[in-house]
Structure formats: C-alpha cells, structure tokens
Amino acid sequence: MHSFLQRGNSILAYALSVLACLTFICFASTLFLNYVTDAKMNTVKVVVKNVPDYSASREKNDLGFLTFDLQTNLTDLFNWNVKQLFLYLTAEYITPSNELNQVVLWDKIILRGENAVLDFKNMNTKYYFWDDGNGLKANKNITLTLSYNIIPNAGLLPNIFASGSHSFKFPVEYTTTRM
C-alpha cells in the first residue's frame, strides 16, 4: 500500500474478487430452481410431399409441411440469472431407417424484458421439415415438443422440455399440388 500503483492494484484486485464472489452467489441462488412450465400446442394443417432435396443429397426425400398453434407463458422463468431463452419446437419420430429423428421446426429468442407470453395461431414453420429418406408419409406418430435453452448471466446452460406435447400423423398420400 506504499505507492500509488500498489494501492490501485490492491483495490482493483479486491473489487474483482468481490465481483467473482457475487457472481457465484447469483449462480448458486438459481442452481436448483425448477424451470419447467406448461405449453399447449396443436397442429392445424399437415401435408407431405416427395421432392428432391437440393440442399443435401439431391435425392427425393419426404418434405412435411405443417402449421401449428402454440400457447405458453414463460414470464416466470426469468430471474436475475437468466439473460435469454432460446425456444425451439422439435418434431421427434421414428422411421424404418432411423431409430430417432429430431428436427427443429421453429425457434425463437426471447431476451429478458421482452414479451414472454406467446399465443400463436396457425404459424408456419421456420425451417423445412426434411426427413432423411422417405419416412414421413403415413408416419403415425410424430411428437411435437417445446423446449428451451436457458442462457444465464453466468452458470449452467440447461435444455428443458416444457410439459405438454402433441402427437399427430402424416397423411397416407403425397400432395402433388402447389400450396
């Protein structure tokens, strides 16, 4: 503490260790919270086509089209250690060739302070629903789930499934008309 620089150095070091300590308290205070909420979803229109996937193999693959309703309230998830929610709607299904297929159809970033009460009607998907092959036609069990990845100020990055899912089936015939 005898010189100008040493005093500055010691104050800065002390302030930084206090900051690290506060951050840890913030992290620890939110570590065991339960982040699961309800979500209601429903599909409105479901069709399937068989067209070449030029972004991948160029072979004819099944391409599903659907519109969906989604209702959820995520306001309670935001606490002092949540910076952002990354919300995504996943379609999960089984095909003869693959034991597990997961395709994200839609996602949304909700920053802290933004509106977190969602009520969508007849929404289009954000990404194409390409199957890896021809497993969508007449597929009887496609499950839609809503999940969110919590981005904290500092801490863990959990991926959480909202409770509530929706299962639907694809039609047995390909749609050939343009939509």
Binding site: S3, L5, Q6, S55, A56, S57, K83, Q84, F86, Y88, T90, S97, N98, E99, L100, N101, Q102, V103, V104, D107, I109, L111, Y127, W130, D132, S147, N149, I151, P152, N153, A154, G155, L156, L157, N159
Partner: protein
C-alpha cells in the same frame, strides 16, 4: 513497482534464493498444465474451456465469453444443444446449435448445426461435400457459461506483441519478486 527496486531485489538474492524462485516459477507453469490436463480427463473433452470468437451465437454468446464443455461418450447429442465442433480445413472450432439429428439403429448419429444469429444452416461452413456432422467432429457440448472473462485471450490473440509483453512481465515478476 519501481524498476530500480526490481533489480535491487535480484542483486540481494543469493544463489539458493534464485534457484528457489526458478523452482516456484516452474511450479506455477506445471500446476497450470496439470489443471488443464486434469480437466481434459474429467470432462472427456480435448478442450474443456473455449472462448467464443465469433458473433454467430449472439445474443446468447458474445465474443470473449467463456464456455465450459463436456464430452461424455455415453451422453447422446440431442437437438437444441450447443456443440463445439471442428471442420476439416478450419483451425478454429465452431460453437453452434444442433438443428436436425438422425440416429441409426446401430447408434451412428448425424446432425446439422446452425448459429442462432445466422439465417442459414451450417452446410456452407462444413468441408466441401460434407452434409452432416458426426460424433467424431465434436469437441464438446457447452455446459457452463461465464461472460467477458475470455476477452483477455482475444486481446492477446489479436495483438501478439501485447501477449509477449504480458507473458514477459509476468515471468519476470515471478522470477525476480521476493516474498
């Protein structure tokens, strides 16, 4: 810290003290290495801590944020997770989110990633002709997040002179400073 003072300290040292200083310097370096290698074993990832170098995951991760990774083989990759992967022909690992995933019955997994802040998926970033990532490409899955701390490394990488100056100062300080 006075420059003259520094060399006073050196002059006052005898041989034994000097060797002691060198040993303690070696101790610091080797314990840092041990911690890093130990983390590699515990997390199963070849690089357990990474610094985010691009803005492609904004607003979740900004340049200079720190990510803690794990890569346990028994833990399956799932959609919505943030993976860090290496692409042939690129030195820097990429931090992006899994968008689509197909798992075969024999356990082989292929998946497609996308950055939250990018408008298209990552097929354009992969090696030419590569359509999917597999488990072998993955360096780790993001599990923990700490903001800003990696800024120092970014500064050091962008200004190599700064890096050498800092390293030289630290080394000199440890070697020369007497407790």
């Amino acid at each position: 810290m006075d420059v003259a003072n520094l060399f006073d300290d050196v002059k006052r040292m005898n041989k034994r003290q000097f060797i002691y200083q060198v040993l303690s310097f070696g101790m610091i370096v080797s314990s840092a290495l041990m911690i890093w290698k130990g983390l590699m074993v515990v997390t199963g990832s070849e690089s357990p801590i990474v610094v985010v170098l691009s803005g492609s995951m904004e607003p979740a991760f900004h340049r200079g944020d720190l990510l803690f990774l794990t890569n346990y083989p028994e833990e399956p990759v799932r959609v919505g997770e943030i993976v860090v992967f290496k692409v042939e022909g690129r030195d820097i690992p990429i931090v992006h989110r899994v968008l689509k995933l197909h798992e075969k019955r024999n356990g082989t997994v292929k998946f497609l990633t996308k950055g939250d802040n990018n408008s298209v998926d990552d097929r354009g970033l992969y090696a030419p002709g590569q359509l999917w990532l597999t488990k072998d490409d993955v360096v780790g899955r993001a599990r923990g997040f700490l903001p800003y701390v990696g800024m120092v490394t970014i500064l050091m990488n962008e200004y190599p002179k700064f890096k050498y100056a800092v390293l030289a100062c630290l080394g000199l300080y440890v070697l020369v400073h007497r407790e």
